[in-house]
Amino acid sequence: MLTYLLKRLTSLVISLLVASLVIFLVVEVAPGDPASFMLGLNAQPDTVAALRAELGLDVPKFARYFAWLSGMISGDFGMSYTYRTPVAQMIADRFWVSMPLALMALALSTLIAFPAGLFAAARRGSAGDMGVMGATQLGVAIPNFWFAMMLVLVFAINLRWFSAGGFPGWDDPLLALKALTLPAIALALPQAAILTRVMRSALLDILGEDFMRTARAKGLSARQAIWRHGLRNALIPVLTIIGLQFSFLLAGAIIIEQVFFLPGLGRLVFQAITQRDLIVVESVVMLLVFAVIVVNFAVDLAYAAVDPRLRART
């Protein structure tokens, strides 16, 4: 188990270093001068020179990379060129919107998908199964921004249970959670549909396994056999999908954030790109990469917890 952990940690650190190098190369070393790119076509030469000095572009590339890396490790992401505020602070504010939103959406989709997948697999071919499968078909097909607008129409405008958008901050956690509820539902719906299908097919595969027959021969009922022997074995493919979905939910919520006027990471990147604020783009991308890699690490640990064979193989 320890070697497994060690190996995963090594690969985590290596992936992070490689990712940082790639991002750095793409943004700063790629042909073209970042400073003149940020200032646009009509910039004065002296303004460009000033910005170059400010960005530290006159120092050698290696030194710049290490300065950037060590800055990030110590929490200094640099200054946003457009807003003139520390990038770290900007990201932190947005992160506390995007992260809880992603977690809520993930929790929701898992809570829907597990029972739905179990139900459908246990009653394969029945009307219930077909109902669930039809619903997931619909869930995958509906665009989530449209679904988000429908939610706003019904729950914010007609029923007035929720506000139609905006984020009040975490001063009142209940109010904050309430503001995130509709976006989380809108985000969770297609994910839940996909996860339900994965859960169902993973369980159906397991149901055909020999050890499920052994379980029945021991005297377990069909339902007990699924619970005790099927579920854990079906978790591996499901965990893989959950890991992928989390990364997507964290970074890919951009449209939903726009619909609900949420100050999240997606919107931040979007704005930074339109304003050519490379420092912000670079930092947010690195943060997202970090999140994805850490989530993958967590999924790897979860695999090992579920499956003893992975622990042994190291």
Partner: protein, 545 residues
């Protein structure tokens, strides 16, 4: 045979049991009785209804199949039980052991938990007592706690050990009836002998009744008090073992018996032929996974300093238990993988050169695999499937020659040239193996490798394929390497045999001599462990056409 006398009253009675689905008869009028301390063997070929009979007793028939008739366990009618009541009987009064020990256990649960579950599910004891009993019963089946603690996972055990765990699960609550469905078919002969001994002693000492399902008549004759032979869902003959073998009243029984011990007549070996395959001090290492990141890799030597020469027209057998290196050696001979030491040459040319199989040599070698179902692409027609080796030829035959050679190859293996336009799913297992042989023959290779080529076949089909191989040897002067774990088959189809253990060839000699006078202790152990058919008298073998 168990030795002690079975009790008089039947423990299990099947009387006129029928199972049908969509008008298709699965079981027809099956009647059997089984007493305490008795072993009843249910035998027959695949699809004869052996397993379905067992599943009917368990109440675990697949899909919507229902059994009708009378099915009594210790006087109680099983067919009128509800599903909930059957759940209380399964695992408690009836235990069942399955064929595939590698997959019959839940891979993510410890063996202790899985054995204890049988006890807990029937509320026979609290958690601690259940684990104590689990340890006890695992020790009973030969997995003592000091070497096999309850916390072991299935993947840490060998096939035979896993089968012991499955048996422990089945007998944890001392059921009245134990059903074993081909419990040793997937195991090596020495392991098979141990598991059969274990089952026999369980019947004798725990007083169970054992319903044993097997296709292997040699196992049956050694094991059972009584035998029931099944064909097409019916019991065609039943009786005490000795009596049944002595009389064999039903022609099907006689056919099965004859096919089980089938001997072919090989044409004489050509004398003073040139060397064909030369394997010279070959070793093959596999890297093992690193224990610690970046540490140097250790290696596992799967084939260790193996040397032998096959001459043209030689028919050589390679036997050994799983994991002994047979398959690794086969892959090396086929030039699919590089070897770490030594050389392999066919007709003087290396089989593997410049980091890839040598195409010059590859067209002189063909292989027939075990699985007649998995080794064909289901989307291609037979004609295309068997003409695939043409890719190996420097000049590919034109359309008409191609058609002729396909027709020729199909006729050679006893099929019709018209079969070239059919898809593979239209053929039975035996026919598919004929097609596999046709595919191997089509470019007239110098050497054919049969890798467990008859192991998945029913005995009567196996006998036919062996006859076909003998015929083809006569017509084409085949040279082949016949790899198998089945000693009786190797005996009849080869002139010379190599015995492999832990990557080494421990014995190499003329087949008859190795079988009658084995030199190496391992060869003796293998031959002793192999179950034998009872002696055959000529009148027993008389099979009406």
């Amino acid at each position: 045979m168990t030795g002690s006398a079975p009790s008089a009253t039947p423990m299990l009675i099947l009387d006129g049991v029928n199972v049908a689905i969509f008008g298709k008869t699965i079981l027809k009028d099956v009647s059997l009785t089984l007493r305490r301390k008795e072993i009843l063997a249910l035998t027959g070929e695949s699809g004869s209804g052996k397993s379905m009979t067992a599943l009917a007793v368990m109440g675990l028939l697949p899909g919507r199949m229902r059994a009708t008739g009378t099915l009594r366990l210790d006087g109680a009618d099983l067919l009128s039980r509800t599903e909930a009541q059957m759940c209380r009987i399964r695992g408690n009064e009836i235990g069942m052991v399955f064929q595939e020990p590698m997959t019959a256990l839940n891979p993510v649960q410890t063996i202790g938990d899985q054995v204890a579950e049988t006890i807990l599910i029937h509320s026979a004891a609290d958690r601690r007592a259940a684990r104590t009993r689990a340890a006890e019963v695992l020790a009973r089946v030969g997995l003592p706690q000091d070497r096999f603690p309850l916390g072991r996972y299935p993947h840490e055990l060998s096939g035979g050990q896993r089968q012991r765990v499955v048996i422990a699960m089945a007998i944890a609550l001392r059921p009245k009836l134990l059903i074993a469905d081909e419990p040793t078919t997937a195991l090596d002969v020495t392991t098979q002998a141990q598991i059969l001994d274990l089952l026999k002693s369980l019947v004798r000492e725990e007083g169970m009744a054992l319903l044993m399902i097997t296709h292997d008549l040699a196992v049956v004759s050694d094991m059972a008090d009584r035998i029931a032979v099944m064909q097409h869902g019916k019991v065609v003959e039943t009786g005490p073992t000795c009596q049944l073998f002595a009389r064999m009243e039903h022609p099907y029984t006689r056919q099965l018996f004859a096919a089980s011990g089938h001997r072919v007549s090989l044409p004489p070996q050509p004398s003073a032929a040139r060397p064909l395959l030369e394997v010279h001090s070959v070793s093959r290492d596999y890297p093992l996974p690193r224990r610690i990141p970046f540490a140097p890799r250790k290696t596992f030597r799967a084939v260790d300093n193996v040397s032998f020469t096959m001459r043209q027209g030689d028919r050589v057998g390679l036997v050994g238990e799983s994991g002994c290196g047979k398959s690794t050696l086969t892959r090396a001979i086929l030039g699919l993988e590089p070897v770490q030491e030594g050389q392999i040459a066919l007709d003087g040319a290396p089989v593997f050169s410049h980091g890839r199989p040598n195409p010059e040599v590859r067209r002189k070698m063909q292989v027939v695999f075990q699985d007649p179902y998995g080794s064909f692409n289901p989307r291609h027609k037979v004609g295309k499937l068997i003409s695939e080796p043409f890719h190996l030829l420097p000049t590919k035959p034109d359309t008409s020659e191609r058609r002729d050679r396909i027709a020729q190859a199909l006729s050679a293996v006893g099929l019709s040239p018209d079969d070239a336009d059919k898809y593979i799913h239209a053929f039975s297992g035996g026919q598919r193996q004929r097609i596999a042989i046709a595919r191997a023959l089509i470019i007239r290779p110098e050497l054919i490798i049969f890798d467990e080529a008859v192991s998945a076949l029913d005995v009567r089909v196996r006998a036919q394929i062996l006859d076909l191989m003998a015929d083809l040897s006569r017509q084409y002067r085949l040279s082949y390497l016949f790899i198998s774990h089945d000693l009786s088959v190797v005996r009849t189809i080869t002139d010379r045999v190599l015995v492999m253990q832990n990557g080494e060839i421990v014995e190499d000699g003329p087949t008859g001599q190795v079988y009658t006078n084995p030199q190496h202790p391992y060869t003796r152990q293998l031959l002793d462990a192999a179950p034998r058919l009872p002696d055959i008298t000529p009148e027993m073998l008389h099979v009406p056409a």
